[in-house]
């Protein structure tokens, strides 16, 4: 009993400490922001409007969810538009990169054939394709293709890495237990590669977010949070620009959070945590 109390106290104090430090740091951050806005306004800087007060941003944030904007959409519509693109791009990347990575990791011939193409496309920032994809692939598949290019390579490379790192002794063990090529592939290589795949997915989703925002800012595909930021900037509604940025930050946190959760569950299920 006594020790439980002590434990509870220990955990509490550790959490308290973290909450306190976190709160302090966020308070300082918001305070600094408020002060900077105030300073710009008080001294009549012509660009004071570009740094709205935190309070204004909070208001704009809430408003964007209940009032339609100049494009006739609610924030939720923009969010769904962006999510749809991410989802399609991710699915496409996953469906192609996973088998490609497994193949290129397993066979030197596939690697020899695939790598030159990969090496041509990989260093090209996906956004460079915007002008072309917008027209050739259209307003749905254009941005999806850009997201695809952002997510594809991290998944591909991580899966390849995973396949190459498969502990040869595990393959030996499987062989001595009677496993053939197919068994080895499905029962050893694939499970071994899963954590690498998850890493690829996490990295890829981060880049995917970056791509979709930029794609929506540069090309106009109809809605999307990136488009929202661009449009609000065109209208000089900077509190709404910041609200859009906040929405992206929150969505980014949620996406990687969900990926992290899935990863954790998977690891627990696979006995790796």
């Amino acid at each position: 009993m006594k020790s439980i109390v002590r434990l509870a106290r220990g955990v509490m104090s550790r959490n308290w400490r973290r909450v306190l430090l976190g709160g302090l740091s966020i308070a300082v951050f918001i305070g600094a922001w408020q002060a900077y806005s105030w300073y710009l306004n008080a001294n009549d800087y012509g660009y004071a409007a570009y740094i709205p007060y935190p309070g204004e941003v909070a208001e704009a944030f809430l408003d964007s969810f209940v009032t339609t904007d100049a494009t006739g959409l609610l924030m939720m519509d923009h969010i769904f538009a962006s999510l749809k693109r991410i989802f399609l791009g991710f699915t496409l990347a996953f469906v192609i990169a996973l088998p490609a990575g497994l193949l290129m990791g397993s066979y030197q011939t596939s690697e020899g054939l695939g790598m030159p193409i990969v090496e041509i496309f990989r260093p090209i920032p996906p956004l460079a394709w915007i002008p072309i994809f917008l027209v050739v692939l259209g307003h749905l598949w254009g941005p999806v293709a850009i997201v695809f290019f952002g997510i594809f390579f991290p998944i591909l490379f991580n899966v390849m890495l995973g396949v190459k790192r498969v502990d040869p002794i595990l393959i030996d063990a499987a062989k001595t237990l009677g496993a053939g090529r197919q068994h080895i592939f499905f029962k050893v290589v694939l499970p071994f590669t899963t954590p690498y795949l998850m890493t690829g997915i996490k990295v890829g989703l981060g880049i995917g977010w970056m791509c979709i925002v930029a794609a929506e800012m540069v090309g106009q595909y109809g809605g999307g949070v990136g488009y929202y930021i661009w449009a609000m900037n065109e209208f000089s509604l900077y509190d709404y620009v910041f609200a859009g940025i906040a929405v992206i930050a929150i969505l980014g946190i949620l996406t990687t959070g969900v990926a992290g959760q899935i990863e954790r569950r998977l690891y627990i299920w696979m006995g790796m945590k």
Partner: protein, 270 residues
């Protein structure tokens, strides 16, 4: 033992590894017969080819010359009639204890019920009741190797090939596992070819101890251990045989040392 049937037959094995420009002759003229139900220990200086012998018998390594047969069949590739236990345990980390043990049975397309019956039997045999659904990461080294042994046995192989299976364990756990192995061996009556670095272990376990020469490896001497089991490490007979083996080994060890010094002293990476 002479009247018994030979189970593992290795004749005049040759193994040459090609490494860039160099050719390493790991085995040359290695011959050994292991009789059905026998427990033979393979001893020899580091790098003499013990692992290579085992891997060729397992079918995990091709031979450059000679013949190997197990239960009368020429070995060509790995197969479930030879169970292998690895020093590194080689458990599938994403599978539970039970699922590891059932790996070979899954490949045989056995039904879930049959699999469970067999895996339960071997879980009992290696004393892992209660750990069926635990993943390897949660187990101690000794427990991991029990899983390794159970997994190899679950396929009901004719022979067990064990490559320093207790090498990664601490001294006490090692002693315990030796006793466990003998218990399991006498319960299953498998033919066992057991590689070790430890003279003590070999004398404690083996029907016969095969001491190999330094590279290229061949059989230097075969010492029969006629002591009754369980053996006492502190008994006089035990110590006599131990000393005999040590002396044979010492000579080969010195050869290895000399060569390594002349090679530039770098042994192999740790």
């Amino acid at each position: 033992m002479d009247g018994d049937e030979v189970n593992i037959r290795m004749e005049n094995l040759l193994k040459v590894f090609k490494e860039d420009t160099r050719e390493i002759v790991a085995l040359k003229g290695f011959s050994l017969d292991v009789v059905d139900g026998e427990l033979v220990c393979l001893l020899g200086p580091s790098g003499c080819g013990k692992t290579t012998v085992l891997r060729i018998a397992a079918g995990l390594e091709t031979k450059s010359g000679g013949h190997v047969s197990v239960s009368g069949e020429e070995v060509s590739g790995a197969g479930p009639n030879r169970g292998v236990v690895f020093q590194e345990f080689a458990l599938f980390p994403w599978r539970t204890v039970r699922k590891n043990i059932e790996f070979g049975l899954e490949i045989k397309k056995m039904s879930a019920d049959e699999r469970e019956a067999i895996s339960s039997k071997y879980i009992d045999l290696v004393n892992l009741e209660g750990f069926e659904n635990v993943h390897p990461q949660k187990l101690s080294g000794g427990m991991k190797q029990r899983v390794g042994i159970a997994r190899a046995l679950a396929n009901d192989p004719a022979v067990l090939l064990m490559d320093e299976p207790f090498g990664a364990l601490d001294a006490q756990t090692r002693n315990l596992m030796q006793k466990e192995l003998l218990r399991i061996w006498s319960a299953t009556k498998k033919t066992v070819l057991f590689v070790t670095h430890s003279v003590d272990e070999a004398v404690f376990l083996a029907d016969r101890i095969v001491v190999m020469t330094a590279r290229p490896g061949m059989v230097k001497k075969i010492i029969s251990v006629a002591l009754p089991r369980p053996r006492e490490r502190t008994s006089a007979d035990f110590i006599t045989i131990r000393s005999e083996v040590l002396q044979v080994l010492e000579a080969e060890f010195k050869k290895t040392m000399m060569r390594e010094m002349s090679d530039g002293g770098v042994e192999h990476k740790a």
